[in-house]
């Protein structure tokens, strides 16, 4: 009789999610390994002599500078100034973009009325608006915040709209069939169901906000902040090591922010297929 052949698939060890602690530890360790590899590669490039060390200092040196900067009160002050603008800008953005996204994602009319305006405004780069922002808001935190809000609005808005359009109609019908009105359905079905996707938007926005904050400081020479600090270190002191150290700190900030957001997501959105502890067949 016919001989059945088995797929020559190696036994893929299904990672036990039972010991959540140990699984978390493995993934942290793996992440560290990844970062270490990144720095080793960067060190090799900077030592390879492709570029003069005077201009591209060795990564190890930059890391030493990074360590020094972390205890430099002047530098920390600059970082805090940036973070403050970041936090305010992102909060405003989330409130505005999510509520706008919910309205536009659930109403056809509002969606079509806004589309042309949005599509037109969205690609206008915040950097092109810097002089105007300075004009209207002055050269300090308000200007940065305005630019942050303007540029982070879009990822959150779009992910919210997409998320709202992606809700399973049966779920919406269910709520309606139990007498929930449009608004209630919106809050109790559409919003939770779109939440993971909105959250991805927020994660994108969180780093865009950081980028815009630092860029605005760097390009507009804002009066305070990490970007201003980098500008000074580069332009008046010719200290590329310090500039790169500050760049690394910008990256580390992003990593930390993302870490916090992931924790929040695990805590509140653990029902998603991707995060289920015993995902059926998810490997």
């Amino acid at each position: 009789m016919a001989v059945l052949t088995q797929t020559p698939k190696p036994a893929r060890a299904r990672r036990s999610r039972a010991g959540g602690g140990s699984a978390k530890r493995t993934s942290i360790i793996r992440g560290m390994i990844g970062l270490v590899v990144l720095f080793v590669v960067a060190e090799l490039i900077s030592r390879s002599g492709i570029v003069d060390e005077a201009f591209l200092p060795p990564t190890s040196l930059v890391l030493v500078r990074t360590g020094e900067l972390l205890v430099d009160p002047g530098f920390i002050g600059a970082v805090l100034a940036t973070l403050q603008a970041w936090a305010i800008g992102l909060s405003i953005c989330i409130v505005v973009a999510v509520s706008l996204g919910v309205v536009l994602g659930s109403s056809r009319g509002a969606y079509s009325a806004s589309r042309a305006v949005i599509e037109f405004l969205r690609p206008i780069p915040s950097v092109a608006l810097i002089p105007l922002a300075i004009l209207v808001f002055g050269n300090d935190a308000e200007m940065k915040i305005a630019l942050i809000v303007f540029s982070t609005l879009w990822p959150v808005l779009f992910n919210t709209i997409y998320g709202m359009h992606d809700v399973d109609p049966i779920a919406k019908l269910t709520a309606q069939s139990f007498g929930r009105g449009r608004i209630a359905t919106l809050f109790s079905v559409s919003l939770p169901s779109a939440a993971p996707f909105i959250f991805t938007g927020i994660r994108i926005a969180a780093s865009v906000a950081l980028i815009v904050a630092v860029s605005a400081e760097l390009l507009a020479g804002a009066s305070d902040g990490l970007g201003r600090w980098m500008l000074d270190a580069g332009a008046t002191g010719n200290r590329p090591d310090l500039v790169y150290a500050a760049t690394i700190i910008a990256g580390l900030l992003g990593l930390a922010i993302n870490g916090v957001l992931v924790l929040i997501e695990r805590r509140f959105l653990s029902w998603q297929p991707a995060l289920r502890p015993t995902g059926k067949g998810s490997e």
């Binding site: 069939s177 079905v189 939770p192 169901s193 029902w271 289920r276």
Partner: protein, 275 residues
């Protein structure tokens, strides 16, 4: 309790028809006219794809039919009427994955007018009725298919609707549980004086539960037969099913459905097969 024509009509369906538009236009419902008296238990049977789900959607106001009207106590149904609940055929998708079983049920309870203790009691009671006492804190995706289906039923029961529409609600449960759920439906119907429309593929079940069975033709569907079921109540899983009348009714309906399913032209006349 048998239904007489003098009872008030809760729902009046007149010339109902539905066509799914789109590139492939499909006429799902041809023309349906019937009434649902208050407190009635009506079973609906018909070949797969004949438009039963479509019909329930139209009755519940979730979908606007392309033709005809649905009147609830004489008023046209525009939105979903208060006090109406629907158990979806696609139960697994109608449960909210971000809420636990208890959370899914709590979701449909009215926000006001219930104390916390009452809410809890309702949830426990309805879970108990469908045999899921221990699963209140699980998520839907941690349950088996049949258990999910029972959660959907429990949710509808906890809502205590006046009109309950059920779309093949027992398709995924075992025979024994099914029998228990059938009796549960009869009991809650009495207790809360609900009006129930019940779509099923199980002909025995349709007869066992109902005051009246509607047999639909295949798509575009029309009513092939309206069969009043005069079996005595209270009904009993063993003795009722042994009645001659029951056996007659079910084989009559089975024959009609067979006629519909096989690929012969649709029967035209609406006949009263029994009673």
């Amino acid at each position: 309790m048998t239904i007489t024509t003098t009872a008030t009509d809760l729902l009046t369906i007149e010339g109902l028809g539905h066509v799914y538009e789109g590139r492939q236009r499909h006429e799902a419902i041809g023309r349906l006219d019937f009434t649902v008296p208050e407190g009635a238990f009506i079973s609906i049977v018909g070949p797969s794809g004949c438009g039963k789900t479509t019909m329930l959607r139209c009755l519940s106001g979730l979908m606007k039919p392309t033709r005809g009207t649905v009147l609830l106590q004489g008023e046209p149904v525009l939105g979903v009427p208060r006090d109406l609940a629907l158990v979806f055929q696609d139960y697994s998708r109608s449960l909210f994955p971000w809420r636990t079983v208890a959370g899914n049920i709590a979701f449909v309870l009215p926000r006001r007018g219930l104390t916390a203790a009452e809410r809890k009691a309702r949830i426990d009671e309805s879970l108990d009725a469908v045999g899921l006492t221990g699963s209140a804190d699980k998520y839907p995706w941690q349950l088996s298919g049949g258990m999910q289906q029972r959660v959907a039923i429990a949710r509808a029961l906890a809502y205590r609707p006046k009109i309950l529409l059920m779309d093949e609600p027992f398709a995924s449960v075992d025979a024994q549980t099914r029998a228990e759920l059938e009796d549960l439906m009869l009991a809650v119907r009495e207790r809360f004086s609900m009006t129930i429309l019940f779509v099923t593929h199980d002909i025995d079940e349709s007869v066992y539960l109902a005051d009246r069975v509607l047999v639909l033709s295949k798509s575009p569907s029309t009513i092939v037969a309206t069969i009043d079921v005069d079996l005595p109540r209270p009904r009993d899983q063993v003795s009722t099913r042994e009645l001659d009348q029951f056996v007659q009714l079910r084989s009559g309906i089975a024959r009609m459905i067979r006629d519909q399913s096989t690929r012969r032209p649709t029967a035209t006349a609406s006949t009263d097969a029994a009673a």
